[in-house]
Structure formats: structure tokens, C-alpha cells
């Protein structure tokens, strides 16, 4: 689906070393924002490193755009401060902050040509014509639109408008680039393409990028680090890998990707890493991986990603005790080309389990699983994750 590997993986492949690290260190300190009685942001503190591609991810209304607008200078926080390097920028108006924004709606000036749109910040500073010409051309080339300068915004496609908006935001050479859901108006294919290009531009320019999105795949695929926000709070900050693989709350597990939740009660602590949990909804007990110090009698919530679960009509052979095996019935299946999503009914309460099967082999080479089939599903208990503990 998304061809980009998470950046943290490429990081290990040594790509980071080539990147020029420029831009500013952005520190958000105890920022609160109230609109009347409504607390949009509740005591947000963040530190965004120089040259980092940082994402603010969350559902709509979580406050991520407000936070971005505070950094840009379009809004004042009710309390708290934003520092660029060591300077508090809250008193500095938007037009004087070394920060530029790529808007969700592009916000290209409809009466100006592409060239003049990009040249706008230079014209304001009364830069001489020759320099303007060269510089605008340079940035139009950066966004791969070297020949569109004479057109009007209305003559460009959505993707092209987005590139112009990026060029225009970068021409002032800001130390931080803010991107407010820049790809949300594009269709899925184009979005993926632009994402790759954004990443390339970031690698080339090397300044700090702060990227706001509600799309977890966008955030996971390009970011160095992601801050997941919900209801005005930052709930987790981490690399895409950490966010996806070890979500700290059910909200994150639910919001990032698809997942299964089951509620259970700890019946026995087997050792430091394993505990026995009884799941009444499933009508069975399973061995569960734990890194949180569980106590016998705790109520817990277990999450397992659907793609980590295997499925077959035949009982799997030769599995050791680290594997959890359940038996159920196919309630629904959705074939979508590269994978099939199964909804499996399990246990006395007919709990639904989602299982994604990737079609690594040619579809018909495997034994087909059909609607109403009885199936076995199993997963390694390292892949299950306790996201919520309620002490006895």
C-alpha cells in the first residue's frame, strides 16, 4: 500500500548521515489554548529537533492545527511559550517569524501568476528583479515546475498548486516549515507521490518540518518522530515504529492502523515477561507478553494487530507455548487485491476478530477460506500488547 518504509528503518540504513541538518530547534513549553470554556490545548510541551521531520497526528478537533497556528503566529496561546532555538517567538507577529506555512487549501493568490506567487515574499522585501528571477526559478525547479511560471493558479492541477505553495513557503528560507494537512485535498495516488517528493525536499533543504495530519499512514511513512494528539493533549511521542508497535493507550492502538481489543483478567504471573490472562469473551485463557508489571487480578486490555494474526482452515502444527491459538468461524470477508480482511467470530459471546491475510502467494495456490468456514487463528504472544491496566 505505502511504498515508503518508515524513516526509522532508513535511519538505520544510514541515510541520515547524508542529510544536512539545518533549521531551528522548536520548543513548545506548557502551551494552553482556550476558546471560551473550551480547552483546545491542555499544557502541551514538545521539543522538535533541528532538521527533524516531525508530525502532529490526531483526529480532527484534537488541537493539532491550533498548535501549528500558534507556532506560525496566527493565534496566541492562552498561556505558555514557543521557542525557536532560544528565542521566545510569541511576541513576534506572523509576518516577522522565520517560519512559513504550507496551507491545506494552498492559499495561492488567485490574481498572481505562479511566478509572482512564488516571488511574493521577495517582492515584499523589494529584492532586485534579477535576483528574484533566479531565485524563483531555482525554487520552481526544486518543486519540479520549472516551466509553469506564467500560468495562473486556476490553470494548475491540485498537485501542482501544492508544489507552488511549497516553493512559495520555502523561498524566504525559513528555519521551520509548517505543513497543515497539505495533502488532504489530493487523491490517494497523488498523495503518495507528493509524500515521497516532500520527503525528498526535506532531505535536500534540511530544515525543520512540522507536519500536521490526521492520516496515520502519511505520518508514519515520512516522519522522523510523531506526536499523537487527542482532545488537546499529546498522548505519545515516538518514532513511527514505536507508535505503531508499542502504542501506549487504547486510543493510539485504535487510531493508528486497525487492531483488535479484548478485555481480560490476570489469573497468574508466569514469569517476568509472561502472564496468564483469562478472557471471558473468548471463553479461554491465553499467555500474554507483559512489560508492565502486572499483578494477579488486574483487569487488562490486550491489543493484537490484525496483520500479525495467521489464519488457516487447518489446525497449525508444531507450535510451542508462545503461540496463542483460537478457533472461530468466518463471519465476513473482504477481498481487496493485495490482501483479504477476515472478520472471525470467536467464543461464546461471538467476539469479532479482524485478521488480515496478505496474498504473498498467488491467491488460488492456497486453500481458499470461505464464508462460514471454521478456521484457526494464531499469533505469537510477543505480538500482543497490553494497552490498559486497571488495578484490582
Amino acid at each position: 500500500m505505502w511504498t515508503l518504509a518508515p524513516k526509522c528503518l532508513r535511519f538505520t540504513a544510514g541515510m541520515r548521515g547524508k542529510k544536512r541538518v539545518k533549521g531551528s530547534l522548536v520548543t513548545v513549553k506548557n502551551v494552553e489554548k482556550n476558546f471560551g470554556d473550551f480547552h483546545v490545548l491542555k499544557n502541551i510541551s514538545l521539543e522538535i529537533k533541528k532538521g527533524e521531520f516531525f508530525s502532529l497526528l490526531g483526529p480532527s478537533g484534537c488541537g493539532k492545527t491550533t498548535l501549528l497556528r500558534i507556532i506560525a503566529g496566527f493565534e496566541d496561546p492562552t498561556s505558555g511559550a514557543v521557542f525557536l532555538d532560544d528565542r521566545n517567538v510569541i511576541p513576534i507577529p506572523a509576518n516577522k517569524r522565520p517560519v512559513n506555512t504550507v496551507f491545506q487549501t494552498y492559499a495561492l493568490f488567485p490574481h498572481l501568476t505562479i511566478f509572482e506567487n512564488v516571488a511574493f515574499p521577495l517582492r515584499l522585501r523589494k529584492v532586485t528583479n534579477n535576483i528574484v528571477k533566479d531565485k524563483v526559478q531555482e525554487f520552481l525547479e526544486l518543486v519540479k515546475l520549472p516551466k509553469e511560471g506564467k500560468k495562473l493558479p486556476s490553470q494548475l492541477s491540485g498537485g501542482q498548486k501544492q508544489r507552488v505553495a511549497i516553493a512559495r513557503a520555502l523561498i524566504n528560507e525559513p528555519s521551520v516549515l509548517l505543513l497543515d494537512e497539505p495533502l488532504s485535498a489530493l487523491d490517494a495516488k497523488l498523495r503518495q507521490h507528493m509524500l515521497i517528493e516532500l520527503d525528498a525536499i526535506h532531505d535536500k533543504i534540511g530544515i525543520t518540518f512540522i507536519y500536521v495530519t490526521h492520516d496515520q499512514q502519511e505520518a508514519l511513512s515520512v516522519s522522523d518522530r510523531v506526536a499523537v494528539m487527542n482532545e488537546g493533549e499529546v498522548v505519545q511521542i515516538g518514532t513511527p515504529f514505536e507508535i505503531y508497535e508499542s502504542p501506549q493507550t487504547p486510543f493510539i492502538a485504535h487510531f493508528i492502523g486497525e487492531t483488535n481489543f479484548i478485555k481480560g483478567k490476570v489469573t497468574e504471573i508466569l514469569n517476568e515477561k509472561r502472564a496468564m490472562v483469562e478472557f471471558p469473551d473468548l471463553g479461554s485463557s491465553l499467555t500474554v507478553y507483559q512489560d508492565k508489571s502486572l499483578i494477579k487480578g488486574d483487569n487488562v486490555k490486550l491489543t493484537i494487530r490484525p496483520e500479525k494474526i495467521r489464519i488457516s482452515t487447518e489446525k497449525p502444527e508444531g507450535l510451542d507455548e508462545k503461540w496463542n491459538v483460537l478457533q472461530g468461524k468466518v463471519d465476513e470477508l473482504i477481498y481487496s487485491g493485495f490482501q483479504t480482511k477476515f472478520f472471525i467470530e470467536i467464543g461464546p459471546k461471538r467476539t469479532m476478530f479482524r485478521v488480515f491475510k496478505q496474498h504473498v502467494k498467488f491467491f488460488t495456490d492456497e486453500k481458499a477460506i470461505n464464508w462460514k468456514d471454521n478456521v484457526y487463528i494464531w499469533w505469537h504472544n510477543n505480538d500482543g500488547y497490553i494497552v490498559e491496566v486497571e488495578a484490582l
Binding site: G73, F74, E75, D76, P93, A94, N95
Partner: protein, 292 residues
């Protein structure tokens, strides 16, 4: 964050309208509580004379007449305008038809009134034709009565009813009518139960656009009407310029304003869900008038 420049932008409008709208209107209110001067004007002594003078059978009769003219004209205009704008909105030539409606709308209003004098006057075309064909022997007085006032009011403000209705109906999804027919509604039933509720905003605007000027009419009854078809506007003008009873002119102005405002408010309340769209509608209508 940047400074809020809103007040700076709005200052000129505020100052201008305060000077030439709010203050003059307040003066009318104030004057209506004053005593009239002997040679016109006012004496700055509070009194309710001007309001007492309203208890007067003549003024009462004129108020009734004003309502009658405005309501009748509005009802006729809107009931013609709905089917006519429906036809325009569904036609292939809608832009041309729109232009056709806008041209008389933009033609000078006194010239349009005069045209009816040329047609209906004692020496007008109508009388000439009737006389020359021998249908009548003496000319008939068509003008200078309430019916003539209603007719010319309709003629003058009909485009005001058509334009907002047209722009609403144009946005209406006509497949809803087909869906209604498909589900078994008759043609008229579909219109009444699907089209009309969905163009309520346009109807509201059309009613307001026609009722307000018709109710505050001055020139039409002055030119086309007789002494029996006086409207409130004429009384105000008479009190102001001829009788020079300024407090009375002011109090009648207040009555006119209050009735207009009440009418507008009542109608909007009655049609509440539609009022939201009325403002936008008005903008679009004015904009359409500009574009056309």
C-alpha cells in the same frame, strides 16, 4: 500574533452610517415626541400630540389601504414569479431570460410608471382604441384609483420577486421532483410537497423584496393614485412639505417603520429555517443583478 485591524477597516462605514443613517433616524424618533412649530418645524417641548393625531379615521383608513395594496401586490407578484422563475431556471435559455427580466428592472422606474400613464390615461392608448372602435362613447378613468396603484406596483417590483426565486430554483435539484413522481406523486403534488418547501428561502426573500418597497411606496400612489388611494408614504410627504407638521410626519414614519419591521420579523419567524438563507440569497441576487 498580529494586531486586529478589523475596527480600522470598519471605521469609515460606521462613522458614515452613524452620521447619515442612525442619527437622522433617531431624530425622527425624537421629533415624534415634540410639539409642532407654528410655522412648521418643531418646538423642543415634549408632547404626545403627534401620536394622538394618529387616532384619526383618515390615517387609519390610509393605513388599511397601504396594507391592502402591499399585501395584494405581493401575493400576486410572488404567485406569478414562482412558475415563471421555475420555467426560466429549467430552460436552456436561462441566461437570456434572466437578461430579459433584468432589463425592465434596470430601466428607470419613473419611465416605467409613465408608460402606464401612456397606456391607461384618459387620452391613453387604451381609451383611444376603445373610443375609436365605438365600444365606449366617453373615456373611462382607469388611473387614479387603488387598482391602478396595485397594477403599477406589481409592474414595478415584479423583477424583485423573480430574481431571488430564480436563483433559488436554479440551485434546486430537479431530480427530486422526478423521484417524487417515481414514487407516485402527481405533478402538482410533487411541486407542492417537494419544490415549494425546498425553495422557501427564495420565497421569503421574494416576499420581503416586494412587500417592503410596496408598503413604503410614495411615487406610485403620488403619480398614479387619486385621493382615495393615498398611502402612508404620501401622508408623510404631505405633512412634511405641505402641512409642515414635522412631529406628525415623524410619528407616521415611525408607524411605517414599525409595521415594516414587524412584518419582516413576523414573516421571518414564521419562516425561520428559511431566513438563514435569505441573507445569502439577497447577496446573490444583488450580485446576479450586477453580473447580468
Amino acid at each position: 500574533m498580529k494586531k486586529n485591524y478589523g475596527p480600522f477597516y470598519v471605521a469609515p462605514v460606521t462613522v458614515w452610517l452613524a452620521c447619515f443613517f442612525v442619527i437622522p433616524i433617531s431624530i425622527i424618533v425624537y421629533y415624534s415626541f415634540l410639539t409642532k412649530g407654528i410655522n412648521g418645524g418643531v418646538i423642543h417641548k415634549l408632547s404626545l400630540d403627534a401620536f394622538r393625531a394618529l387616532y384619526n379615521p383618515t390615517i387609519f383608513q390610509i393605513t388599511i389601504n397601504t396594507f391592502q395594496v402591499a399585501i395584494l401586490a405581493t401575493v400576486i407578484m410572488v404567485s406569478f414569479a414562482i412558475p415563471a422563475s421555475y420555467f426560466m431556471a429549467r430552460s436552456r435559455f436561462k441566461n437570456f431570460f434572466l437578461l430579459l427580466v433584468i432589463i425592465p428592472f434596470w430601466t428607470n422606474f419613473l419611465i416605467r410608471i409613465y408608460a402606464w400613464m401612456a397606456i391607461l390615461g384618459n387620452n391613453g392608448i387604451f381609451n383611444n382604441i376603445l373610443l375609436s372602435t365605438g365600444i365606449i362613447n366617453n373615456h373611462i378613468q382607469f388611473l387614479y384609483n387603488t387598482n391602478a396603484v396595485i397594477l403599477v406596483t406589481i409592474y414595478t417590483y415584479l423583477p424583485f420577486a423573480i430574481l431571488p426565486l430564480y436563483s433559488t430554483i436554479e440551485k434546486f435539484d430537479f431530480s427530486l421532483l422526478e423521484a417524487a413522481r417515481d414514487l407516485g406523486a402527481t405533478k402538482w403534488k410533487a411541486m407542492a410537497s417537494i419544490l415549494l418547501p425546498n425553495i422557501r428561502g427564495g420565497i421569503t426573500t421574494a416576499v420581503l423584496f416586494t412587500f417592503i418597497p410596496a408598503f413604503g411606496s410614495y411615487a406610485i400612489p403620488q403619480i398614479i393614485g387619486g385621493t382615495n388611494s393615498y398611502m402612508l408614504g404620501n401622508v408623510i410627504a404631505r405633512e412634511l412639505t405641505v402641512t409642515r407638521n414635522w412631529p406628525l410626519a415623524s410619528s407616521i414614519s415611525m408607524v411605517l417603520t414599525v409595521f415594516t419591521t414587524l412584518g419582516v420579523l413576523l414573516f421571518m419567524r414564521f419562516n425561520r429555517s428559511a431566513t438563514e438563507s435569505a441573507r445569502g440569497q439577497k447577496q446573490k441576487t444583488v450580485a446576479a443583478g450586477a453580473k447580468a
